[in-house]
């Protein structure tokens, strides 16, 4: 029998994929890559509907899905190496922050940036240009990247540094994987004095209080983030627990821990879905959790010693907390607003908290200046991130309304979290969008790098 091109198409398994929010599932043929070379081969595999790389699937929406096309699962390609003399790490795209920390912390190094979960990959960190509690001091992930190798749909592999090809480097930083698939990357990691942090806690009764604390005090801390109670209204609107800290020196540790200052354990206490009952996170339980969380925090506490998982990744102790929102799933909405948009920030908090639709993981932080990435999210100002359960029919209109407020003050939404914004807002939120499109067109003229998010927002 004569062989046709269709016959030669590799028989990849068809899988149903969603993001961390469990919404809008689609199916794709999934290539499980185990090395940088296999990632590159997956991206160039025959596909009528293009390809996109996927890491640990922690984007909340549809960024790492490609309906009807190819999705390259990079998590099998997880090798990395550290040069202990310089702190420079070279890692395959699928290496996770979890794996990196297990390797780095005992040597006295930390990752340059970590989000609220350690289950993100190096490839995903670049594609979303992730940020963390140290953004005001250290910027976002790509500010620490020295180089990466990018696989393109024509089968070629390009080495990219900020000096050799600044346009492609920065278009890939936050480019949601649509300018090529990162196969490996080299980045600089900071040294730490121990694996513990010195943490100061301040509780604020309202939004103005916490904003003032951050404005006045953040510069004294390497890491800073506020948990904001989105169920509180009226006089307590925006009440928050602000946690700030820095890595402890060995002498700061309790005497018994000084002998082994870099000890690191990161356990998942609960991970079986059965142990996180579906729908356990509902308005009633969330009100209760929020109240307890706020009440248990001290008004002021200084110099508490916390571990890395306690301070950075508390939710990772419950491996599948996302299932708590039930089968319809949830979404996360994260905006960035200019520093002077405090009234709009208050209005947004007010609209979201009085709607009684939110939520569990709500974070407020002050960003430092952004970087040159046209689609990189962070910009100097405030960032607010909230969970929203899906299912209440009024949520769509509510979120459109808060989007309009964000747009009106020159703010933007985070694409790694997005699962429902209007594509027409993108140009105003990301004024350098056309620059980004030009770079994409130059490396991917046939638009073969594509994702559900890209289709939804008109990026591919």
């Amino acid at each position: 029998m004569a062989s046709t091109s269709a016959d030669r198409r590799p028989d990849y398994p068809v899988e149903r994929l969603t993001g961390w929010g469990n919404t809008a599932p689609t199916t794709a043929r999934v290539v499980h890559a185990h090395s940088p070379t296999e990632i590159a081969a997956g991206v160039a595999a025959p596909s009528d509907r293009g390809a996109v790389a996927r890491g640990l699937g922690r984007c909340y929406g549809d960024a790492a899905q490609n309906a009807g096309g190819v999705v390259v699962d990079t998590t099998g390609a997880g090798e990395f190496s550290l040069d202990p003399a310089t702190g420079v790490v070279t890692a395959s795209a699928g290496a996770s922050i979890d794996e990196l920390l297990r390797g780095l912390v005992p040597w006295g190094f930390f990752v340059p940036v970590t989000p609220g979960t350690r289950y993100v990959t190096v490839g995903g960190a670049i594609a979303s240009d992730i940020h963390g509690k140290n953004h005001h001091k250290a910027g976002s992930w790509c500010d620490h990247v020295l180089s990466f190798r990018l696989a393109l749909p024509d089968g070629s592999i390009r080495s990219v540094t900020p000096e050799s090809d600044p346009a492609l480097f920065w278009a890939t930083a936050g480019g949601m994987g649509l300018t090529g698939a990162v196969i490996d990357a080299t980045f600089r990691c900071p040294t730490i004095g121990s694996s513990r942090l010195v943490v100061d806690t301040d509780r604020s009764d309202d939004l103005d209080g916490v904003l003032a604390l951050m404005t006045e005090g953040d510069d004294a801390y390497d890491y800073s983030v506020a948990w904001i109670d989105m169920m509180a209204t009226g006089r307590h609107l925006g009440r928050s627990v602000l946690q700030r800290g820095w890595f402890a020196a060995p002498d700061d540790l309790p005497v018994g821990d000084r002998a082994n200052p870099f000890a690191y354990r990161a356990d998942v206490l609960v991970s079986a879905p059965a142990l996180v009952p579906s729908g356990v996170l509902n308005p009633l339980t969330i009100r209760l959790i929020d109240e307890v969380w706020y009440r248990k925090a001290p008004k002021v506490r200084r110099g508490e010693i916390q571990t890395i998982p306690q301070f950075f990744h508390p939710l990772d102790m419950i491996g599948t907390w996302n299932n708590g929102y039930g089968p319809r799933g949830f979404l996360q909405w994260q905006c960035a607003l200019p520093l002077d948009a405090v009234d709009e920030l208050r209005r947004i908090v007010e609209l979201l908290s009085t709607s009684r639709t939110t939520s569990f993981v709500n974070v407020l932080k002050r960003f430092g200046p952004g970087n040159p990435g046209p689609l990189s999210f962070p910009m100097e100002g405030w960032t607010l991130s909230v969970d929203v359960a899906v299912g209440n029919p009024d949520v769509a209109r509510l979120l459109d309304e808060v989007d309009d407020l964000v747009l009106a003050v020159g703010g933007r939404l985070y694409l790694a979290k997005d699962s429902r914004m209007k594509g027409s807002m993108l140009r105003a939120m990301y004024p350098k969008l056309d620059e980004w499109r030009a770079v994409k067109a130059s490396v991917d003229p046939d638009n073969r790098l594509c994702s559900d998010l890209g289709r939804r927002l008109g990026l591919c």
């Binding site: 068809v14 149903r16 994929l17 969603t18 929010g21 919404t23 809008a24 599932p25 689609t26 199916t27 794709a28 509907r49 929406g61 549809d62 490609n66 309906a67 009807g68 096309g69 319809r328 799933g329 979404l331 899906v390 299912g391 209440n392 029919p393 949520v395 769509a396 979120l399 699962s419 429902r420 209007k422 027409s424 559900d452 289709r455 939804r456």
Partner: protein, 253 residues
Amino acid sequence: MKDALGSVQSALVLGGTSDIALAIVRRLVDDRCARVVLAGRDPGGLEKAAAGLSREGVEVATTPFDADDAEHHAAQIAAIFAEHGDLDLVLLAFGVLGTQDGFDADPASASRVVHTNLGGAVSASLAVAQQFRRQGHGTLVVLSSVAAERARKSNYVYGATKAGLDAFAQGLGDALAPLGIDVMVVRPGFVHTRMTEGMDAQPFATTPDAVADAVVRGLRRGATTVWAPGILRWVFAVMRHLPRPVWRIVSAR
């Protein structure tokens, strides 16, 4: 693409002049839907319907489609997808009601109604399913009827076709669920439309706009079955179990 809250960006209507379908599509284009294809038999009616949907930034196209021509459904629907690109939502809205007097006088005409309402709907749905599998996503909304729940003596031919279609759509939905493809069965009660003009309204009569609101709410929460009005779900939970002599009296109203 459909988003996390069930908003779609493109839609195809099979039976593009249906009052209920057009009420649904009006809500979709007021939200995020920017591409609509109306398919049907009556070019004049389609043009008029398209004009009623025009909004800034919304593309509306019309295309001929014969629900009775099952032989060509697969090719025709493939051609629509090829020309218009991804279609996030397909609304299966064609169907004829007929009159019992007409069927009594001309039994073959009843068979033609079965062919359109059931045979044509089944082949069109399967043709849509082929395209949804290819594009890896999609939502099929099938207009069934409360008449599918229990046949009444005044319109049992129509009721039989909707009962068949309803069962088919449920099975199709279960088959496609693992692929991230949704099938929503909509069961309206008596709806004031051109199809029911001049007929006596039944209890819980509703309007195309009310049905459309129910469908949009259903899309938002990922529903697989939508009753319009919602109370009919509970009414029919009782009705379907009434003894036949009682049902005969109740349904005569």
